[in-house]
């Protein structure tokens, strides 16, 4: 009897990643809160926030990798889902300010008072309750992804066309959120948060907890994503990526699969945004800018597309490099980032993950739609 091949849920790379993540998740806040300030072991507050931010980016990159690495959907609009999740959390935090705002209005956030608004718009209702806001963190990006995906996948918009319209989507949202009368604070966005669930957002302990939650969310989403891609559903996703019409002719409804994974991924991005906002203390429309979304894709590509943990690692490494360089040589950073885009696509198709797995890259690059178009045209 032959042994049927089984995909392990986590795999070696996944286990190492989770162990490292757990270590970082516990060590950083512990060293922040309990080591004596000034000692070599002490992690300063700003560092906790900075790494927490990286973890949120890592979760965003994981979400991008889930759709791009496994299903071939290159979304240039995942920043929009991230920002929407962030806005949902930001709205909760705005409502928690209460009468401590500059204008002291117990009901309306400052910018609404400033705009002479008399009452809270309907879509702000309910955001004073944390569970509701948390639900919206998932629901709003999820619903947008579902509607957008339903339209796009049903009409079989694929490849670069899909990339371009996802970019147009986030661009449209960028323009919309810049408008004051949208009711999301316009240009300035939402900021000046005071507390979350009754704890002051600036306090070290709150920050440590938020940091820990980010790590937890990253780990949890990683396991969920691994569960998805190691199931038969994941195999079908890869089949769609490599040979979409073959998958269709086997009887799989490709659009349903894409819709499922796109929506799940958008929700993960939303969660990342929701954790990001209380840590950095602001959310504004620039989070919707198409540049952000494309940058996320390069974190994923740099870390290693189609490995999930590689994507998360890529986000952390690139962002750490960004923090370092923008402090050291601000002008050089765009050269480095631009160069990264070129070098990764030309010379590192498997990204960092490829280096770590000892250049064992058996699978050939997937046959893309365009390659098939050209071969068909040649016939």
């Amino acid at each position: 009897m032959i042994q049927a091949p089984v995909t392990p849920i986590l795999g070696r790379g996944g286990v190492i990643f989770l162990v490292l993540l757990l270590a970082v998740a516990i060590l950083v806040p512990v060293l922040n809160l309990f080591a004596t300030p000034g000692s070599a072991l002490h992690v300063p507050d700003y560092m906790v926030t900075l790494i927490g931010k990286y973890l949120c980016y890592a979760l965003l990159a994981l979400a991008v990798d889930l759709v791009w690495g496994f299903c071939g959907i290159l979304s240039l609009g995942h920043g929009a889902f991230f920002a929407l999740g962030g806005y949902a959390m930001g709205m909760y935090l705005m409502r928690q300010i209460g009468s401590r705002g500059v204008y002291g209005n117990p009901e309306l956030p400052d910018f609404m008072v400033f705009l002479n608004w008399k009452e809270l718009p309907w879509y702000w209702q309910g955001f004073e309750y944390f569970p509701f806001a948390l639900l919206m963190v998932f629901l709003v990006p999820g619903a947008l992804a579902f509607v957008f995906g339903w339209l796009a996948f049903r009409s079989r918009v694929t490849g670069v066309y899909l990339s371009i319209i996802t970019q147009a989507m986030t661009f449209a949202l960028l323009l919309a959120f810049f408008r004051n009368d949208m009711g999301f604070g316009g240009n300035n966005g939402l900021t000046d948060f005071k507390d979350i669930l009754g704890f002051p957002v600036q306090a070290s302990t709150t920050r440590a907890v938020l940091y820990f939650c980010s790590a937890l969310a990253l780990g949890g989403c990683f396991i969920l994503a691994r569960r998805i891609v190691s199931s038969k559903l994941g195999l079908v996703l890869v089949s769609i990526r490599d040979a979409e019409s073959r998958t269709r002719f086997l009887g799989y409804r490709v659009e349903h699969y894409k819709l499922f994974v796109f929506t799940v991924s958008a929700m993960m991005a939303g969660l990342a945004g929701a954790l990001y906002v209380p840590q950095v203390g602001i959310i504004n429309p620039s989070e919707f800018s198409p540049e952000n979304s494309i940058e996320t894709v390069i974190w994923t590509a740099f870390g290693g597309r189609g490995t999930l943990w590689g994507a998360a690692l890529g986000a952390i490494v690139v962002n750490a490099a960004k923090s370092w360089f923008t402090g050291l040589l601000p002008d050089a950073w765009l050269f480095i980032l631009g160069g990264l885009f070129i070098v990764v696509t030309l010379f590192m198709p498997k990204g960092l993950a490829g280096i770590f797995s000892g250049w064992r890259w058996a699978p050939r690059p997937p046959v893309t739609e365009a390659a098939k178009v050209s071969t068909q045209a040649a016939e």
Binding site: L151, V157, I164, I165, A172, F341, T345, T368, A370, S374
Partner: protein, 532 residues
């Protein structure tokens, strides 16, 4: 008695006015009550004396004074405790006078209106045509019947046919308010009907409300006809703005249509090629200004080939160094070229600095052309529209009629066969890409005239350009033209209703929905070779 004098003065005016008469008329402004002053103003205005205008202006502005001792009128200005006097006749300084000796000539609002109308009539006979035009327009707006006599006189004297027509319209407007016969008023309505502006329509509507006779219907109909003409012009204006935007979109997108449509390469650095073209224009202008200032008006023409060469060679280099390794992998190409765009932006920022660069508009591209008295087309937009069409036509010819175009199409359709026939497909690829980038450079020259030349210039056009290409249908230059025109005009038609930002959002959503409906664009190729 006074009115008799006025008539006398009128008679005098026709045979010329002496300075002493003018002085007399001016001095008549001071005594008496408002009623008498009114007559005096009319008399002065009707005299057509050259002093009349400055004196009446001074009177209206409260700067006309009378010397109590002899009743002589002066234009005066406060200087310290005293007043600096100017003799209105000859406009000579006439020393100072103590405030106690001199009294301001008072007027009321009625008189102010009268003066302003009278001034209109006065400038009507001015030697400066611009002043006459201005005067006629002011009467046209006010429709004051008092101006009628001087207008009619002016019309008979007017040599300029266009101005005479305008004065006739002004006279017509005044006629409506006057107590002239219905026949004359009917004729006046006929004259006013020819005008296309909101004020005339309002004038006619107001007139229609004051009368019950057959004139009412005629005036209402005339007002409506003007309104509908105006609406048509508004639409024409929107179309023009739309076409102007379309020409910019076309220029930015057409190079993309070649690299994306013909070669299947997504070039996210396309916007930076545009940006390089704009900076080339800046540099060329700077060099010309330094070495051959006389040629400065033509620096823009020199910039056209220069921008094509600069952007084109960067494009060729990009194709040779990056893109050729990524053929058949469109998503990777997208990412790599995005990286290139970041590098180019930062390079330009490092060299030229982050601030906007000034590119001057040559005289032959400034100014505007009036169409129908309503629409003003700026010259630079007209030139850009013509330029865009010229580039499009040139490209069409290149693709259809030249060997290079033939080879390009051959390689696109069947690469192995083209190779077999001795076409160096590598070089065709590089040159095609160079062509697309070079055209982006041309777009940059045009954009430097209407947009800020900054490192981010290209970014603002890249998404729009992609939408144009995708909307028009990939691989079809006519589609790109149609896409640019549709999106440009639609954008400008939405703006008045939705505002610029919301209009743009609506366009984006519309295109997103459209792509779902027709994933391959407006002019898509159909057939089994399209999709795997």
């Amino acid at each position: 008695m006074r009115s008799l004098a006025a008539i006398l003065m009128l008679l005098l005016m026709t045979c010329g006015v002496w300075a002493s008469d003018a002085a007399q008329l001016i001095n008549a402004l001071a005594p008496g009550d408002f009623k008498e002053r009114e007559t005096a103003i009319s008399a002065l205005a009707a005299s057509g004396a050259e002093e009349a205008a400055p004196v009446l202006q001074a009177l209206s502005g409260g700067n006309l004074y009378v010397r109590k001792s002899d009743g002589k009128v002066f234009i005066a200005e406060t200087r310290g405790d005293a007043l600096a006097l100017t003799d209105p006749v000859g406009m000579a300084a006439a020393g100072e006078g103590a405030k106690a000796d001199i009294e301001k000539i008072k007027i009321n609002n009625n008189l102010r209106r009268l003066i302003s109308n009278a001034l209109g009539g006065l400038t009507m006979v001015s030697t400066d045509p611009a002043a006459r035009r201005k005067a006629a327009l002011s009467v046209l707006k006010s429709g004051d019947p008092a101006a009628l006599p001087s207008l009619e006189k002016a019309i008979s004297d007017e040599k300029d046919a266009g101005l005479a027509a305008l004065m006739k319209q002004a006279a017509a407007a005044a006629t409506l308010r006057s107590d002239r016969s219905d026949a004359e008023k009917m004729a006046a309505i006929g004259v006013l009907k020819e005008r296309t502006d909101r004020d005339t329509a309002a004038l006619l509507t107001a007139f229609a409300a004051t009368t019950d006779s057959g004139l009412k219907d005629a005036a209402t109909a005339a007002a409506q006809s003007i309104e509908s003409t105006l609406a048509r012009w508004a639409a024409v204006q929107n179309v023009w703005y739309g076409l102007s935007l379309s020409s910019v979109l076309l220029l930015a997108a057409i190079g993309l249509a070649i690299t994306f449509g013909v070669m299947g390469v997504i070039n996210m650095a396309h916007g930076e090629m545009v940006m390089l073209g704009a900076y080339t224009t800046y540099v060329v202008q700077g060099m010309v200004a330094q070495h051959a200032p006389g040629l400065l008006p033509y620096a823009l023409l020199l910039a056209v080939p220069a921008a094509f060469l600069v952007s084109g060679s960067v494009g060729v280099a990009l194709e040779r160094c990056v893109i050729r390794f990524l053929y058949g992998r469109p998503l990777e190409t997208l990412l790599a070229t995005w990286g290139v765009s970041l590098v180019l932006q930062q390079a330009v920022r490092s060299i030229f600095g982050p601030t906007n660069k000034e590119v001057t508009t040559p005289a032959w591209m400034s100014g505007s052309v009036d169409v129908g008295g309503v629409l003003s087309l700026t010259m630079n937009r007209i030139v850009i529209l013509a330029f865009a069409l010229a580039v499009f036509a040139g490209l069409m010819m290149l693709m259809k009629a030249s060997t290079a175009g033939l080879q390009m199409r051959a390689v696109t359709q069947n690469r192995p066969m083209a190779n077999a026939m001795g076409i160096r497909s590598n070089w065709v690829d590089a040159l095609t890409f160079g062509l697309g980038s070079g055209i982006a450079g041309l777009a940059g020259v045009a954009l430097s005239q209407i947009d800020n030349v900054s490192p981010n210039l290209g970014q603002s056009y890249i998404i729009d350009s992609f939408l144009v290409v995708v909307f028009g249908g990939v691989g079809n230059l006519w589609g790109t033209l149609a896409g640019a025109v549709t999106l440009g005009v639609a954008n400008k038609f939405l703006e008045p209703f939705a505002g610029a930002v919301l209009g743009k959002i609506l366009i984006l959503i519309a295109v997103i929905l459209f792509i779902q409906k027709r994933p391959r664009g407006l002019f898509a190729l159909k057939g089994r070779w399209v999709e795997a």
